[in-house]
């Protein structure tokens, strides 16, 4: 059985996870060869990308067109005070590569749209949604369904969060759960309702675990299940969900011909700025 020749430094760096029966050298080689796209370098994207980089996921793409604002630093732990005003994807690249030189980070300082998303995700094995707006969530979901890419989705607000993993063809997609975006203004954003930084940490760490499991092909991912975290009650709950045969994107006869840009439809101030969490 051919196994990657690890350097002495790699054996030491990854020793605590190589020891795991579910990982080993074979799993570590899979991680180093894996390519993961993280959408958003914000509250969720920060812990996700940090744990993926530390674990040795060899190629990480970071999509974010925003700059670091001081109000981000309470939860977006990829960035520091010295990064204020910098574009988040470049600040993220520097932070991640300094944790682990085995990792190559590709920054995408762009907004995802129906015209660029398929090309961007085509380079990756797994996609992580760390966005905080409905246009991006639907776009990422639909693109992952069309490109048959596994997607780990999460959302957070206040002390709460939800996570689910979408493997096209194996379970429901985001649209099976929520067929259309809510009307503008109905759902509060983190900007309006607030969020505890540690909520992003807990939920992002769960997303990172899901991605690592997908790469390692171990355990049971949250396919057909939504994990609901309540930090105030300090409880976790799992809700089973089914694929919708009438889903407009992944159903038996999809009614959506292609990708939809919801920017105008969703017209939230926060969405216009395409904030990421």
């Amino acid at each position: 059985m051919a196994v990657t020749a690890f350097t002495e430094e790699q054996i030491e760096r990854y020793s605590r996870q190589i020891i795991l029966p579910e990982v080993g050298g074979i799993g570590q080689a899979k991680l180093l060869a894996a390519r993961v796209l993280v959408v958003g370098a914000g509250g969720l994207g920060s812990p996700v990308a940090l744990y993926l980089a530390a674990a040795g996921v060899g190629s990480i793409g970071i999509v974010d067109s925003d700059c670091v604002d001081i109000s981000n630093l309470q939860r977006q732990i990829l960035h520091g005070t010295a990064d204020l005003g910098r574009q988040k994807c470049f600040s993220a690249k520097e932070a991640l590569e300094s944790i682990n030189p085995d990792v190559v980070v590709t920054p995408y300082p762009v907004r995802l749209t129906s015209s660029n998303i398929l090309e961007i995700i085509s380079d990756y094995d797994v996609v992580v949604d760390g966005s905080d707006n409905f246009p991006t969530r639907y776009l990422v979901n639909d693109a992952c369904v069309l490109a048959a890419k596994p997607l780990c989705h999460a959302g957070i607000l206040r002390f709460e969060g939800q996570v689910t993993t979408i493997i096209p063809g194996q379970g429901p997609c985001y649209r099976c759960l929520y067929p259309e975006p809510p009307p503008p203004g109905l759902m509060p954003s983190c900007q309006e309702a607030g969020v505890l930084g540690a909520t992003a940490g807990v939920v992002g760490a769960i997303q990172a675990t899901e991605v690592l499991k997908l790469i390692l092909e171990i355990g049971d991912c949250l396919v057909g299940r939504i994990l609901i975290y309540d930090g105030l009650a300090m409880s976790l709950r799992v809700v089973r969900v089914e694929r919708d045969a009438a889903c407009p994107i992944c159903g038996d006869s999809p009614t959506l011909a292609g990708l939809v840009d919801y920017e105008h439809f969703c017209g939230l101030a926060a969405a216009e700025e395409q904030e990421y969490e």
């Binding site: 059985m1 051919a2 196994v3 690890f6 054996i11 030491e12 020793s15 605590r16 190589i18 020891i19 029966p21 080993g24 050298g25 074979i26």
Partner: protein, 78 residues
Amino acid sequence: MTVLKPDKCIDLRGTPCPLNWVKTKLRLEEMEPGMLLEVVVDDGAPARNVPRSVETEGHRVVETTRLPDGVRVLIERC
């Protein structure tokens, strides 16, 4: 002492826990089931920990031999 001939040998004296086990495990992964790996580890904690980890991972410790300066562990890759 023994007629069993190992397919591979590694000297891990001077390599602390748990790195000695990590290196043993990486070597075992490269081998086919049924092959024998000989590792020599330091006496003390390594001589206790490495055979235990080998068995936890589902391999077989065929024999353990005390040497003047270490412990030789013969492992069957399962």
